[in-house]
Symmetry: C2
Subunit: 166 residues, 2 copies
DNA sequence: GTCCATGCAAACCTTTTGCACTATA
DNA sequence: TATAGTGCAAAAGGTTTGCATGGAC
């Protein structure tokens, strides 16, 4: 109930997609969309479910998964896997359209950045490998500024005589 | 037994790592290392276990997982997640040291390529965001040359009036 | 002989599915 | 009213863990 504020423009866009597909626009679907569209973060399924329940919704985890599947299909939402053992979801509206992610190994923070270089890489693999790019995943893992200033360093490891790293 | 051919140089390197860590060099550990180091592919745990059993080894899945963990720690092996629901492992010896992956959405083939641009991206995020890169993941998903010539296309979807894609 | 690794099976965790019931259109 | 969605619980699938046994050093 309360989690669906009114029907924000983004939720309406999702409703339009559902109607185009001949699918019912249900209360739960709008509620999940509302949570995802009103959050600037990269949410996990658990976080989405928790916010819905805190907002007074009665919703099952299965419905959250099923609705996220629809949101990803509609291309309004992107699915990410930062290697945490579960997925995160991020909407694609009102933000830099194509962007990559910096993930801090210390605090887990996710920073978005744009890179024109990646488009050059895609053009190059098309020319050199005959490979037609559809989408890409570019993630850089490291230590963010704040954690560096707090003294964090990259965890070392491996053989004492490291193998080639270039 | 039979899977451990002799003790290839790469397996010996892993043995050296184990001794450095004060860990026993066991038959199973050498067998897993041998399979990974003698394969040019990106192997799944299932594939590794199957090859070991076909080679006459008596080994449990848990040991494969535990040994892969050690191999990744030693930095001799890299872990990948191409979004298939399980992980793949690739050794880092005798091949292009740092490389990225093209993954065909049609046939699942993985092509390796090098990119100098990525290093420029890492230098840029260090300068612009104060972010210290440790490692990265660059994967481009699309259609490989062979599948294109066989008529494969990128699966479409989403809203009929697509949102910004640049 | 002392540790640590191994194999097996059970546990774990995220995600998916089956089914009786409910809501959309 | 017909169709499809929902919640719940069970299942699935990859990965991890507990424990008694066996192997490395």
């Amino acid at each position: 109930m309360s989690a669906v504020k009114a029907n924000t423009p983004f939720v309406r866009l999702f409703g339009r997609y559902l109607r185009e597909q001949g699918l019912p626009v249900t209360h739960q679907r709008e509620a999940v969309a509302e949570v995802v569209f009103t959050s600037p973060e990269h949410l996990s399924v658990d976080e989405i479910e928790r916010r819905l329940r805190q907002g007074g919704e009665r919703i099952g985890k299965a419905t959250v998964y099923r609705t996220l599947d629809l949101l990803v299909r509609s291309r309004l939402v992107e699915e990410h896997d930062f290697g945490e053992g579960f997925k995160r979801y991020e909407h694609r509206l009102s933000r830099q359209p194509v962007h990559e992610h910096l993930i801090c190994l210390e605090c887990g923070k996710v920073i978005e950045f744009r890179s024109a270089e990646i488009q050059r890489v895609e053009a190059r693999v098309r020319d050199e490998h005959g490979f037609l790019p559809a989408r890409h995943r570019v993630e850089i893992y490291g230590i963010c500024r704040e954690c560096r200033e707090a003294g964090a360093t990259i965890p070392a490891g491996g053989l004492t005589c490291p193998i080639d790293t270039v």
